[in-house]
């Protein structure tokens, strides 16, 4: 497999940004997430060709092409599955899956559960704005139950999904929450998530100023988590169940070993497999 052989100078954050103009609305939180992601790559002194960003469908899922890394912009809801296959086939790559709350928690909800369980060494960045933006304003799993919309008048009546608690219960090894409006903290948290072994989950509160203008208030609502992260899942569960969703920082770090395959270190020739069929 091809890898870059010569040591290269560590690129700046700008070197990770492509010349494509994002489709995002002015004021969208995803712009600063893009900046934070590129800053994290620079902090870690990575090279763009050794990173792959994998996404599904939605506003935030457009992020791969806005970087100079390898990108995979697949179908709706399956980013984690594609990222898992890529990381297991090419363990030396840095793999980041990214997307929104609808892509990750609704249509892709099953993969979210099993990615946490499987604990493959990769990072999942969810830009959560509690709404489907690309289809112009429908409630997502993290939307409040009484949020009115054309598709679900009067609200869905469904309890909002708590992704961090679910991630913890399902086995994610690193759980953090951050706010798009704080790009330096976000960059540092994403860098830490990438460095952490196993499956790292970073929930980014990323306002949709078009369909949820009230999310502009998030800037006043978020705060650094009042206590240091814990490695005790029971304690983390209690904190995550009782906080108001506005605590920022690393909230849980586990010590599970990352998933690995059983690929032989010294592979046999395929022809040797024939033995068992011979009469």
């Amino acid at each position: 497999m091809t890898t870059s052989a010569q040591p290269q100078a560590a690129p700046t954050p700008q070197a990770f940004k492509s010349d494509y103009k994002p489709v995002w609305c002015p004021g969208c939180g995803d712009y600063s997430v893009l900046s934070s992601v590129t800053k994290a790559f620079a902090l870690l002194e990575l090279q763009p060709e050794n990173i792959a960003i994998v996404s599904g469908i939605g506003c935030s899922s457009r992020i791969p092409a806005y970087t100079t890394c390898y990108g995979f912009h697949g179908v709706h809801g399956r980013a984690l599955a594609a990222a898992t296959g890529l990381k297991l086939a090419r363990p030396e790559l840095t793999v980041v899956a990214a997307g929104g709350d609808g892509d990750g928690y609704s249509i892709g909800g099953n993969h979210f559960l099993h990615a946490c369980r499987r604990n493959v060494d990769m990072t999942y960045v969810v830009m959560d704005n509690h709404v489907y933006g690309m289809t112009k304003g429908q409630p997502s799993p993290t939307t409040e139950p009484d949020w009115d919309s054309k598709l679900s008048p009067g609200g869905t009546g469904m309890r909002a999904f708590n992704p961090l608690v679910i991630a913890l219960a399902a086995g994610a090894n690193f759980i953090a929450r951050t706010f798009a409006g704080d790009p330096n903290t976000t960059a540092a948290l994403i860098a830490e998530a990438i460095s952490a072994p196993g499956f790292s989950f970073v929930e980014v509160l990323s306002p949709c100023v078009t369909f949820r203008p009230e999310q502009r208030e998030w800037k006043q609502m978020v705060r650094p988590a009042p206590v240091q992260w814990t490695d005790d899942p029971a304690r983390a569960a209690r904190r995550l169940m009782t906080d108001d969703g506005m605590n920022i920082g690393v909230l849980y770090k586990g010590s599970r070993a990352a998933y690995r395959t059983h690929a032989a270190k010294t592979p046999k020739r395929p022809a040797e497999l024939e033995e068992e069929f011979r009469i």
């Binding site: 060709e49 990108g71 898992t84």
Partner: protein, 577 residues
């Protein structure tokens, strides 16, 4: 009972049935092994009741002096260790007036549905005899009985017992004694044909279609598999899991088929040839993402071990009814490759070819295998070594002005593999321009549609597109597991002086109208044979090909395998018309 001399035949078919735990599959597999050791060709299919464990089961084995790819019209011998629900197998184990029926008198009389066939019944007290032998079991008596009746040497039977009981001791002694009791009981049973002299020895394998497909995939270069368990594809995956690890690859059990198809897309995007295997319900779930593989030009191989559909259908039985979804399931204009193996051994070649085609063309390839081959275990000639391997065109580091989806003459454009500097790009399911930038421009859409269609048309599929055999002005077109029975019907028809051409299509998509036209040059009548209810192949051929002369469809759905006699009758009727 009148004494009937046992005649010699080129092919003998036997079935061993009993309730779960009676060990009929063990006896069947040992018989297969004994046939292989004695130098014969053989094929075993299995059937079992709907219970997960403990239901009735039947091992159906055909032993022959020549290679075989299908079941015969009737069974020469049915041995039932008991009759619990065995009547459910009546349609699957057809008997005739010449057949012999053996049952344990202590388990009651044979069911009416078998008696009606006119088969001659002989009681053998399996259970009572086994009780008298320390560590003896009725299924070992049945094994010895069948082996002796069809003429397998006793020392071969004993060798197989020894091989299957490596631990030796009392278990081995008891099994050998039970087997010998079966051999002795054979003397009292007349009318079972013996298989003719064994053919000259050649290198052979004992393999299932699912194993052959898995091995073909590995030979083609597949090193990553993700899959979700589903009957009848599970055994393919269970064989591949350790095999892939040995050659440095990996198999991952996914949470569902949506995950497995996307995992292999991710792996292949990373440069590692990748495959998944499933059956109809799983293929249905994967379809959207196969479309992604087509648009983003990510090579993958999807093996569909077809079973009876639609919906859950009959999970353990064969039907060729996924042809429509394999060919036309995708939304949008989505050119891709569909191939179908036409024998147990051909599962190897065809799957290996599929990897080669997918990698060379950077396109998803669907392998339409079927339950019949997938779960059949057979003695086959060792398949020839073929050189098909993944030959993906990749982009070198720092390629000047690199465009992932460049409009090349062949339609295939070099693919940059993550890790390669200077050529990074984003693979996209959105329509895009040559660089890969999402585009809703009409010109880009047309150009990329043309490119994706062109690459499939520009490849030379060589002689592998179909097996073309025979001569005459009548032709049968078929695919998959109908091919064996058609070949057998041809051999019988030839004895009646009726000749016809066979075209067994291995490449179903892209269609090859010019090649088929050449193969059918001078043909006045065409019969399209397939195992489904609506004539899916017939309709596809009608839409994609100009077929010469009068064209007739002969089809019927599963779950019963196509039998040579059904097709033979069609050929004879046809020749008289």
């Amino acid at each position: 009972m009148p004494h009937v001399e046992s005649e010699q035949r080129a092919s003998v078919s036997v079935a061993i049935a009993g309730s779960g735990g009676a060990g009929v599959m063990t006896a069947g597999n040992m018989l297969l092994e004994a046939a292989a050791q004695a130098g014969y060709y053989a094929l075993m299919t299995r059937s079992s009741g709907p219970q997960i464990r403990g239901g009735e089961a039947a091992a159906m084995i055909r032993i022959a002096t020549h290679p075989i790819d299908g079941t015969d019209d009737r069974y020469d011998l049915l041995i039932a260790l008991d009759w619990m629900n065995i009547n459910r197998f009546a349609a699957e184990i057809p008997l005739g007036g010449d057949s012999v029926l053996v049952g344990d008198p202590d388990q009651g009389e044979p069911p009416e549905v078998f008696v009606r066939t006119g088969a001659r019944y002989t009681p053998v007290a399996f259970k009572a005899t086994a009780k008298k032998i320390a560590n003896g079991w009725p299924n070992m008596i049945a094994f010895g009985l069948v082996g002796a009746l069809i003429g397998l040497p006793e020392e071969t039977l004993a060798k197989v017992v020894q091989k299957s009981m490596k631990k030796g001791g009392d278990a081995l002694t008891g099994s050998l004694a039970a087997m010998r009791a079966g051999v002795e009981a054979a003397a009292a049973i007349a009318g079972v044909p013996r298989v003719g002299a064994a053919p000259p020895q050649t290198p052979r394998w004992l393999v299932t279609g699912n194993q052959a497909a898995g091995y073909g995939a590995i030979r083609g270069g597949v090193r990553f598999v993700a899959a979700y368990p589903i009957t009848p594809a599970t055994e393919l995956l269970e064989w591949m899991a350790p095999a892939l690890a040995k050659v440095g690859g990996a198999l991952v059990q996914a949470e569902d088929e949506l995950a497995s198809i996307n995992m292999i897309l991710g792996a292949s995007f990373g440069g590692v040839p990748a495959l998944t295997a499933t059956s109809g319900p799983g293929l249905s779930l994967m379809i959207e993402s196969i479309g992604l593989g087509i648009t983003a030009e990510v090579p993958i191989v999807v093996v569909d071990v077809m079973r009876v559909g639609p919906s859950t259908g009959i999970a353990t039985k064969s039907e060729q009814s996924d042809l429509n979804i394999a060919l036309h399931g995708m939304h949008g204009d989505a050119p891709h490759v569909v191939v179908a193996p036409n024998s147990v051994a051909d599962c190897l070649l065809t799957t290996q070819w599929a990897v080669h085609l997918a990698e060379t063309l950077q396109v998803p390839a669907i392998v339409l295998a079927d339950q019949f081959f997938g779960q059949a275990r057979a003695v086959v000639e060792r398949p020839a070594d073929v050189a098909f391997a993944g030959e993906r065109r990749t982009a070198p580091a720092g390629a000047e002005g690199y465009k992932r989806y460049a409009l090349t003459e062949s339609g295939v454009s070099p693919m940059a593999i993550p890790g390669t500097p200077g050529v990074t790009y984003t693979a996209d399911g959105l329509e895009h321009n040559e660089r890969g930038t999402p585009s809703s421009q009409a010109a880009d859409h047309v150009a990329q549609l043309d490119k994706r269609a062109r690459k499939l048309e520009s490849l030379d599929y060589d002689g592998h597109w179909a097996d073309v055999e025979g001569e005459g002005n009548m032709a049968v077109i078929t695919f998959g597991s109908c091919t064996g029975p058609v070949r057998e019907a041809f051999a019988r028809a030839a004895a009646d002086g009726v000749r016809a051409r066979l075209v067994s299509l291995r490449l179903l998509a892209p269609a090859q109208p010019a090649r088929l036209a050449a193969a059918l040059e001078g043909v006045k009548r065409v019969l399209v044979v397939e195992q489904n209810h609506t004539g899916q192949l017939y309709r596809y051929l009608r839409s994609e090909y100009d077929l010469p002369g009068a064209v007739t469809s002969f089809r019927r759905p599963g779950p019963l395998p196509m039998r040579p006699d059904e097709i033979h009758r069609q050929l004879i009727e046809w020749s008289r018309a």
